[in-house]
């Protein structure tokens, strides 16, 4: 078997939850330092892809590679080591509610490195400053707004200096200005820290701002993959309908009648 040289490769991945087949022979390559944006309908399996790459879900079949190493059937201990090279930002931030901002961001450093308290404080301050949250480090997650939480989650994901960032709907539910701030942060990370990122979203503005390559997930497969400008002009009827937000087209075929009848 040839060893892939991509940052991430998913090969013929199938993923099924009980009767629901989410990914069906899904294949994807992610090159180093690119910002891939995966678009698709809600529930189409976008977040599942990120969880498969992280190894928190195991595929029913197929292989997943990270930097050329197959991580599909890796043991827990090795998988934990691989995950330290990835940073994940969850859709709802997933900050530990009993810990303040500083403790949340410091957690990976405290648990996984031998750094001293001073060193940890310095790194935490640096990351919080990067996301503009240095003044809020003593606040609890419940005292933060949605945008602030996202930024803290981003800082936490960055604290171990990952090579790969996985972002699940980074700007969903945020006002346009804060959404732009988050997007700019993601862009600057890949430019300055050479971080590869995979972003999953269905927010158009954000997707085209972040992405250096776009992919459309539909019915368990990538049906279109292109650079942003080419992607916008795609002739694929599913992509065209998704980008225009029209109710006419193949996406709602069959189910539209059911919706309107209701």
């Amino acid at each position: 078997m040839t060893t892939p040289t991509h940052m991430v490769e998913l090969r013929d991945v199938c993923m099924q939850f009980e009767e629901n087949k989410v990914l069906d022979g899904f294949s994807l390559n992610v090159e180093p330092q690119e910002r891939l944006v995966i678009m698709g309908q809600s529930g189409s399996g976008k977040s599942t892809i990120l969880r498969l790459i992280l190894g928190t879900l195991r595929p029913n079949s197929g292989s997943i590679f990270f930097k050329g190493f197959e991580i599909t059937g890796l043991q827990r201990r090795k998988l934990q080591a691989v995950r330290q090279h990835m940073g994940m930002v969850y859709q709802y931030s997933a900050l530990l509610s009993s810990r303040n901002v500083r403790e949340n961001v410091a957690l990976p450093l405290e648990e996984l490195t031998d750094k001293s308290r001073d060193e940890i404080d310095k790194i935490v301050d640096e990351k919080l400053e990067l996301v503009g949250m240095k003044d809020s480090k003593d606040l609890l997650p419940e005292e933060l707004s949605g945008g602030m939480r996202k930024r803290v989650a981003l800082a936490r994901a960055l604290v171990l200096e990952p090579e790969l960032m996985l972002l699940d709907e980074p700007s969903a539910g945020l006002d346009p200005v804060i959404a732009s701030v988050i997007d700019e942060l993601i862009i600057s990370l890949s430019d300055t820290a050479k971080v590869t990122s995979i972003t999953v979203t269905h927010e158009m503005d954000s997707a085209f701002r972040i992405g250096t390559r776009m992919a459309m997930l539909y019915q368990g497969k990538i049906i279109e993959e292109a650079e942003p400008e080419k992607f916008k002009q795609s002739k694929n009827p599913v992509v065209a309908q998704f980008l225009s937000g029209s109710t006419e087209g193949p996406i709602l075929e069959g189910s539209l009648d059911a919706i309107t009848k209701k």
Binding site: L54, T56, R83, M88, A94, E110, E111, L112, R156, L160
Partner: protein
């Protein structure tokens, strides 16, 4: 209404289904304990502590120290009741001097650990399940996992160890409270003075009784913590799921504590008859 009776095959299927679920749960809890210890050992092999001392002490404070008033009070009342009930019966035969020994042995060997187990399962087991369940549904557990941190050693191990180590202490507090309550009743109703009461307790209590009680407490601590944490980390279905799991955790833990206590007594009395 003979038609409403289920055919035997359905009954057999029902029993099979319940048995399979039961075995699935038992196996789940067993592997949960094994995996937790495995994660801890792996961490120790890496030359690191499996969890932070502050986390262990926080859970010890909550599960152990903060439970002392409740455990003490309930045991005190039960000690009073037990002394009164047995005292009046024994008084009829002029053997009220047996009361201190009866209460001391009864609590040290049996009621202390059992009562503590039931109360801790209700108080702390529910709290552990609700806490971990909420973390599970809000993706906090997955976030911990995604950072490369083992959630079992990080979240479960300090809780488990705190409960295992604190249960014997709580049982001892329960024993002391009950024996103290008994001494008050013995003095007030049966004219047994405190020094004589203490002598009678010392005469009747064997090291074996104390060791049995302590061993049971360790076991109950492990059971309650494992069931509570397992239920918490396997929550499905949002807030309603957390509620269901918390109820289930308390019921399962109390049943398991009483079940294991019975099993322990059967085995113990078979191999080491008094």
């Amino acid at each position: 209404m003979a038609d409403a009776q289920p055919p035997p095959v359905l009954v057999a299927q029902g029993i099979g289904h319940v048995s399979r679920n039961f075995l699935h749960e038992v196996g789940g809890v067993f592997w949960f304990i094994v995996n937790t210890f495995q994660e801890m050992l792996e961490r120790i092999q890496q030359g690191r502590v499996p969890f932070r001392a502050s986390s262990f002490f926080r859970h010890s404070q909550r599960a152990g120290v903060d439970s002392v008033p409740l455990v003490g009070l309930v045991s005190f009342f039960l000690g009073l009741t037990m002394t009164l009930l047995t005292g009046y019966q024994l008084q009829r035969f002029g053997t009220e001097r047996l009361i201190p020994g009866l209460v001391a042995i009864g609590f040290t060997r049996e009621l202390g650990p059992l009562l503590t187990g039931i109360m801790v399962a209700a108080r702390i087991g529910a709290a552990f399940t609700a806490e971990l369940g909420t973390m599970q549904v809000s993706e906090e557990v997955e976030a911990i996992e995604s950072m490369g941190i083992g959630p079992l050693r990080f979240l479960v191990a300090p809780r488990m160890l705190a409960l295992v180590l604190l249960m014997p202490c709580l049982s001892t507090a329960s024993n002391i409270a009950a024996i103290f309550a008994s001494s008050l009743i013995c003095k007030a109703y049966f004219s047994i003075a405190f020094p004589y009461f203490l002598d009678l307790v010392k005469d009747s209590l064997l090291i074996r009784d104390i060791v049995t009680g302590i061993f049971k407490s360790f076991l109950f601590g492990l059971l309650i913590a494992s069931i509570a944490c397992y239920r918490g980390l396997t929550v499905k279905g949002g807030a309603a799921g957390v509620g269901t799991s918390t109820t289930s955790s308390v019921v399962t833990a109390i049943t398991a504590v009483i079940g294991f206590d019975t099993l322990y007594n059967v085995i113990y009395t078979t191999f080491y008859p008094t």
